[in-house]
């Protein structure tokens, strides 16, 4: 039961990190924290329904996917740094929303 509260809290912490930061790398850390929350949710659901094998298969796959996404994101961040020489998100204003 408290696992679910921890999941929601972690998710909220991740969203807060995403919103309240000016640094591109912190945004990625926020996404990481949210993925941890969801991993906990998957394992918890598997534990509750006694189907841990399927849950572990999911978690392993999600971890592989997450690593590749982080690699690409880090590549993009390094590229932005080479152009702007700073990682300030306030400088990303060249594209108008």
């Amino acid at each position: 039961m408290f696992n679910l509260i921890a999941v929601v809290l972690l998710f909220a912490v991740g969203i807060y990190c995403l919103l309240a930061t000016y640094n591109l790398i912190r945004v990625l850390i926020g996404i990481e924290i949210m993925i941890k929350a969801v991993t906990l949710l998957v394992i918890f659901c598997g534990y509750q329904t006694n189907n841990l094998a399927l849950a572990q298969a999911f978690v392993i796959t999600v971890i592989v996917i997450e690593v590749v996404i982080m690699t690409v994101a880090v590549g993009v961040v390094v590229g932005i740094h080479r152009h702007n020489n700073t990682l300030d998100a306030r400088n990303i204003r060249k594209l108008k929303g």
Partner: protein
């Protein structure tokens, strides 16, 4: 009781990761949170996934972040404190809301029973499932690793 303590430790590690000033400490906090999640998963009997989580999320990804942080020059100490003050001023309400929500959920949860049906037989082992039943996912994983290799080739090349 022990479960509650470990979960609280996990949330505390995540909050420290977010609120800390320096980027390097954030990356280490991420590794710490992953390690605590691994302990939780071990306690729930998810051994294989816990090992993966430990080696990848508490090892590979913080190394990735730390290498990026060292490649790009982080802010100076003064700038970091300025920014943290601005950050707190912008979103001071949010942590408060989170704490109140969490407490409220905790009190309400006594009646909140998201019943998921319990399987009667434990089912096959993880390795069997991964290799035989979820082959499409394995193909997907191989494909995405390949794509990651292309990303490294395309994105990380130095400009001539």
């Amino acid at each position: 009781m022990l479960e509650l303590f470990i979960l609280g430790l996990l949330v505390a590690a995540a909050i420290w990761t977010v609120m800390t000033r320096s980027l390097l400490r954030s990356a280490i906090g991420l590794a710490l949170a992953s390690a605590i999640l691994t302990i939780i998963m071990f306690r729930m009997d998810a051994n294989l996934a816990a090992v993966f989580e430990l080696s990848v999320c508490a090892g590979l990804i913080p190394v990735l972040f730390i290498s990026v942080i060292s490649l790009t020059h982080p802010w100076t100490f003064k700038e970091a404190i300025e920014i943290m003050k601005v950050r707190l001023a912008r979103f001071w309400g949010l942590p408060l809301v989170v704490v109140i929500l969490g407490t409220a959920l905790g009190l309400v949860s006594l009646k909140f029973k998201p019943q998921l049906p319990v399987a009667q037989t434990p089912g096959p082992d993880v390795r069997f499932i991964l290799w035989h039943l979820r082959q499409l996912d394995l193909l997907g994983q191989i494909t995405i690793i390949f794509t990651g290799v292309f990303a490294v080739i395309i994105l990380f090349r130095e400009r001539k």
